[in-house]
Amino acid sequence: MISTATLVQAIVSGIAMGLIYSLVGIEYTLIWNTTGMLNFAHGKVITFCGYLFGALCLKQMGLPLVWSLILALVLAAILALLMSSSIFIPLRTKDNLCCILATVMAGKILYEAMRLIWGAFNVGIDNYFPGTINIFGATLPATYIYVLAIAFVMVVALQIFLNKTKIGKGMKCVSQNKNAASLMGINVTRYMRIATILSFVVCCFLSILLIPLITLSKEMAEMIALKGFAAGIVGGFGLIPGCTVGGVILGVVENLACIVIPSGYKDVVAFVLLIGFLLIKPSGILGKKAK
């Protein structure tokens, strides 16, 4: 029989991981909606931001947490400007395959840059979310609670930002109809740049949440980046609320499935869900009609 403690542990850590998948989903959906390109480099971007924050700011420059965060965000925004003007904007009308190749290779360039700058080994960073917490008899690392709280705040803040502010509404217009948006006097490429910057900022936050959960290594975001796609498909591709719902469902289902099946198959669950949803309900849980 499964004890409540295991169940609580599975659900809480599942929601925490799920919110991370949601943020991954939101991060690539912002670029997908405005430019129509899927950023296959996003795992590498998350890792790169993690290295900027952890290896460069915290370790090498010895800055305090807040200042490291601010500096990492600024650097991520610069990277976003570079990538949007070199890849996302020039390639947006091109063939699907070219877009995929270009973004994957951009990821490879980031990966190699990390290897050349910070060396081939992992970087050890002290856990900045220390301690453990007790809920219903289940002992959890406090990291999960911090991650849960921060990710939740970020998801809510992003929803408000995208729905209430002028920039958010502008991005919505661009994603709905580029021609009409440009006829209404919206600078489409400018909004593409803004969306990329916002996406990379989310990546930066994601990496900061990930470092205490998994150590800072060059492969840390590979799996999470791929599962982010599954989160988008489950919730509804191209919908920001869809990504949130999909991510949380994915995280919880994955952890609950782990109680039943051997843990080696944990990563398979997300991809089976992805294929299953695409075959049965391609529009996802929140999507209204199939595309």
Binding site: K94, D95, I100, L101, K108, L226, F271, I275
Partner: protein, 325 residues
């Protein structure tokens, strides 16, 4: 008539002579091994060419197909003790199964959705191979896969394998070029360019998509079969998404929908690390930059550039001829 045949077969014959003479002229085993690898990859690229290059269905799961082919033959040979030729039957059966398994979703899904499905397939295959260690020995991989033997002659050395792979490549090149130039190939291109128009003209989109997927999956599995007999060892860490992307790069760098383009791409991408070795640590970055440049500026690949150059020369020559008249 005779002139026409000579004109058409000049390029393949020259290529074949170069390929046959290569191990005789170059004694370095390492370079022969690289050519073997590129020929194995070429088989998978021929397959990918049918789905992605001609029918226009984005497939980022070639590594998964390749892995299933390699593991099927490796398991049948090491666990059941089958002979390499006999294990070709389950390998091809596996190809047919994957072909239908991927082909049916492709009838409903398009573009990026299909790409994600195929990525998911690769990841599932890799993770299951890793986790099912009682059968596949997990991350350790399967060792001591027996060599292929033809009528008692065991293919042991790299040079022997080179000629064996060359024979397969010649056969497959003839088959593939017949398919590309034939009815199927034309319908595939029509489906890529405009599926509605193709179906209005009487092309059966369902059958042609399934055909493309089945051919591609069989070729992918065949490549896996060749791979595991060349290295005598398979390991799940080889079959990542990077490998699938490499196949796509090979196909589009050379030029999609073209046998010579595939050859050029497979050879170039396997040789490129050797050529770029002078850059030392920076070679991966330079490689990535080259591919990005190609994706941005030359989506048609190298063969499209050559074709454009030949057309340009022809027009110029004709103009010159008219001017002299």
């Amino acid at each position: 008539m005779l002139k026409n045949i000579a004109k058409r077969s000049a390029l393949p014959v020259i290529l074949l002579i170069v390929a046959v003479l290569f191990p005789i002229v170059v004694h370095n085993n390492y370079y022969i091994q690289i050519c073997c690898t590129s020929m194995i990859y070429l088989v998978a690229v021929y397959g990918l060419n049918f789905i992605t290059g001609m029918t226009g269905q984005t497939n980022l799961g070639t590594a998964g197909i390749f892995a299933l082919g390699a593991y099927t033959s490796a398991l049948f040979e090491t666990v059941l003790g089958w002979n390499a030729w006999l294990s070709l039957i389950p390998v091809i059966a596996m190809g047919v199964i994957i072909g239908f398994g991927l082909g049916f979703p492709s009838l409903r899904l398009q573009g990026i959705y299909l790409a994600l499905t195929t990525i998911a397939l690769t990841e599932i295959v890799r993770k299951v191979i890793l986790a099912w260690s009682s059968l596949t020995q997990g991350a350790l991989g399967i060792k001591q896969i027996p060599n292929i033997s033809i009528f008692g002659l065991e293919i042991k050395t790299t040079t022997q394998y080179y000629y064996f792979a060359l024979v397969i490549i010649v056969i497959l090149s003839i088959i593939c070029s017949r398919i590309i130039k034939g009815k199927w190939g034309r319908i595939m291109i029509a489906v890529k360019d405009n599926p509605e128009a193709a179906s209005t003209c009487g092309a059966n989109i369902v059958t042609i998509k399934l055909t493309a997927f089945v051919i591609a999956a069989i070729l992918g599995c065949l490549a896996g079969w060749m791979f595991c007999h060349n290295y005598n060892y398979v390991n799940p860490s080889t079959f990542t998404m990077d490998m699938s992307i490499n196949f796509v790069i090979m196909m589009s760098l050379g030029g999609a929908g073209n046998i010579y383009g595939c050859m050029l791409g497979a050879l170039a991408i396997t040789l490129l690390p050797e050529l770029l070795r002078v850059f030392g640590e920076y070679y991966q970055i330079i490689y990535a930059l080259i591919v990005v440049t190609f994706a941005v500026f030359l989506p048609g690949g190298i063969t499209s550039l050559i074709k454009r150059g030949i057309d340009f020369l022809k027009v110029k020559l004709r103009k010159n001829a008219q001017a002299t008249k």
